[in-house]
Amino acid sequence: MSNILVFVEQFSGKVSRASLECVGAARAAGGNVCAVLAGAGADGAAADLGRFGAAKAIVLGGGEASSDALAADVAAIAKEEGAKAFLCAATSAGRDLAPRVAALLDSTLFSDCTALSAQGDAFTAVRPWLAGKAIATLTSSAPVFCATTRPNVFAASESSGTCAVVARAASAGGKAKVTGIEAKSGGKLDVKEAPVVVSGGRGMKGPEHFALIEELAAAFGNAATGASRAVVDAGWRPHSEQVGQTGKTVAPQLYVAVGISGAIQHLAGMRTSKVIVAINKDAEAPIFKVADYGIVGDAFEVVPALAKAVRELKAKG
């Protein structure tokens, strides 16, 4: 069993779901998982990792919120632990960290993988190219196989094992340091991580009508709002909501596309969603070609009715 080092993100002592999935991916590839955690609350989060299959967790104490300093520590640990692979979730923190760790290990990186496997120490990655217009199966001759795992794709593993927690002092001297964070208002879910995404397009006719999209997202309870490139370019919605090839690639359990025609670059960003629902006035819209369920109709009638029906269903439980 090869040693796999996983950088695990935690927030106030709670391990992120994307990181648990990443640990799950490492376990499923047959790895003996050593986790690295950092930041306030990391001790508590580390102690909990045993039940998700990590054998060991190294907690970096006293770090300075610098990605480059963190990368230096993680790369040093990878060498000390004799790691054959380094993984983290393809979140903004993970995508920022992983290339630095890979470079320090003189290894290339496979970002945003949707499948991983290993035969002994030989790892294979599957990852989308062109936001999913093609799917590549890749191997590497790198000294350490480095990859990030796409959120919502891998299953977290359950285990009855315990995790040995080791403290380690974080190194200082970061070249770029985070000095503040302006948290999102109202704890809004990110479109990349939410289990349900409700997206609006040009068919919403104006920014003021996105209240309907938000109402439907609120009805689901666990949904984020998304948007097509056309409405982001028009300034109706923030670019952080854009789904598609020059926005975010999402793979939620349920993707609801409202008033989105389905340009190739949008389809590339959402076509791996588990279930796709399309609501569009135009029965010929390309979005219906990838949708599991479609309603041909006016979003202004269908969306409020759907929100009401979902609310009633959720209230019944």
Partner: protein
Amino acid sequence: MKIVACIKRVPTTEAQVKVSADQKGLDTAGLSWMTSFYDELAVEEAIRSKEKHGGDVTVLTLGPSEASKDVREFLARGADAGVILKDDQWHARDARATAKILCARIQKAGAELVFLGKLATDRDNGAVGPMIATMLGWACVTDVVALELNGTQGSAKRETEQGIETVAFALPAVITCQKGLNEPRRANLKGIMAVKAKAIPEESFEDVPNQQQVQKVEPPPARKAGRIVGEGAAAVQALVDALRNEAGVI
């Protein structure tokens, strides 16, 4: 200040791509190409940095001779020089090899500030920028949506799932650009005429072998055919029933 903006030639976002017959790559015949969307932001921010703080901007690309068209466009917009590291296999290089090759040329240029897109929209790795910074021992801020420079000090805002982070750094630095950072300008007629006949120098470079091996490339799995459950608000109940009972997602 020497500023370098790295760009990559990629298939257009509208392109429907086909897998090559040997299933090891893409069929590039008939593909239309563009500068990766985020790299346009990188060049724009490089030009704005020059306009505010002085210096000159070199547009650097690892790519084919045809990339001269892309480079010339950015010269017309205000970049000062362009360099093509001529490579017909640019799209098949792994992130580490690309970063190493660019690194050597960035060092030769004596650059202090390097801009790239947050990822290239063909391989979507988003690795080359931070790899270059790490290889050079420089600061790096990724996914930047706002940038301020003050002498050799900089402050950048980066987009994360939790909110907008502010990051302080010192030059030399690599910045990767996210949508929202700027609106790229269009070239004006005067700029276009000035660079129309300009030859873009092509250079060779010391090769770096790939670590990545492509086993297979496939089209994405086709989605199972779906169905229209009905028309208008009357169809909502049927949809909700299907989502609960068939799909099990609510």
